[in-house]
Symmetry: C2
Subunit: 213 residues, 2 copies
């Protein structure tokens, strides 16, 4: 089996997404630390791995990928028999793809903005923009209303089993759990149960352990 290499940073949510998928599959990998503070992601040799200059980048033998959700999809497909399946529910892959796109276009933009304002800006000594937080919080509430209904019909977003759809949410979800936005998740019973369930997965706890070290 080819050696998997992840080039990234533990504080990068996209890097965390990839590691979570590798952990679910129980695969070995080499972690190549990219020093963001020194701008290593904006120059060679990293730019040859990801021309957009963002972490992570990924190698599986000769194959090079860089978009986090494309990497998790590759891992799911190419290591299908290892660990958790992670694949879309077999009876209805199109519905699962639909909810993967919901994460891409409804959850990710608003939670990334909130994470930036409430987690990373304070970390970098910058000032949170309260107006942006208010706007995005209102948007997230509407998204979570739809999630609440969906999760009252199936245990996970893609169907009855944990899959990539849920996994893709983990990094931003984790970040927001340390902010006042947490209440939006906790006030919705099905969202709250789903959130607690996926955040407790050993694959994710292992990512958090990596962050602590």
């Amino acid at each position: 089996m080819a050696v998997l290499k992840v080039h990234g940073s533990p504080i990068s949510t996209a890097t965390q997404r990839v590691i979570a998928a590798i952990n679910e599959k129980g695969l070995e990998y080499e972690f190549v630390h990219v020093n963001l503070a020194e701008g290593e992601h904006k120059r060679e040799p990293f730019l040859s791995l990801n021309p957009f200059g963002q972490v992570p980048a990924f190698e599986d033998g000769d194959l090079k990928l860089f978009e986090s959700r494309a990497i998790t999809t590759h891992i799911t497909r190419n290591y299908a028999t290892s660990g958790t399946s992670l694949a879309p529910a077999i009876n209805n892959p199109s519905v699962c793809v639909n909810w993967m796109q919901v994460e891409n276009h409804q959850f990710e933009p608003v939670t990334s903005a909130l994470t930036w304002e409430l987690v990373f800006k304070p970390m970098f000594g910058m000032t949170t923009d309260a107006a942006v937080v208010e706007e995005k919080e209102a948007k997230l509430a509407k998204v979570l209303d739809v999630y609440e209904k969906r999760l009252s019909q199936s245990k996970y977003l893609g169907g009855d089993a944990f899959s990539l759809v849920d996994l893709h949410h983990l990094p931003n979800l984790q970040c927001l759990m340390g902010t006042p936005i947490k209440k939006l998740f906790e006030s919705r019973p099905h969202v709250s149960a789903w959130s607690a369930d996926i955040l407790a997965r050993p694959s994710w706890v292992k990512v958090l352990d990596m962050l602590k070290n």
Copy 2:
């Protein structure tokens, strides 16, 4: 074969994306017009088709989907033997998925913002925000620099054949061709050739004809 139904509006870029894929496959479909000006997308019965209240929504028999790229993926997979393949290049599906995610996370956010400022705001009598245009234009230029390099290596973004990766770009690309942003595409030889090639596809010309009527 089940009758395909597209609920949407011809001026919606996401609706156009779906129709382009159906046209590439040469499939029959029923178009159900959703009157956006009257807010039909924000109330029942439409909300039962898309709880986020956005067009399009799609039905294939009993299956209901609403994210445009999930619908095109479903059409590609479930009507594999009709019309153009549209599937990721068979030798390297993971690379194709990677570039589909590039469209999702690099091209779409910046071109949607530019389309809103330069096409839809003027259409609705609103004022274009020049600062936003300047910022997004600079970002798009960097994205297109990466595209230029990619397209010097393969004729299409996903590989040597036209695929969903390219198709997903069509609606925003078309909108920007009627704005000063056009120069960013035309000044890059490979991007310019790719853009002219995909905009001239009969499937897309048919979408434009629908818009004119």
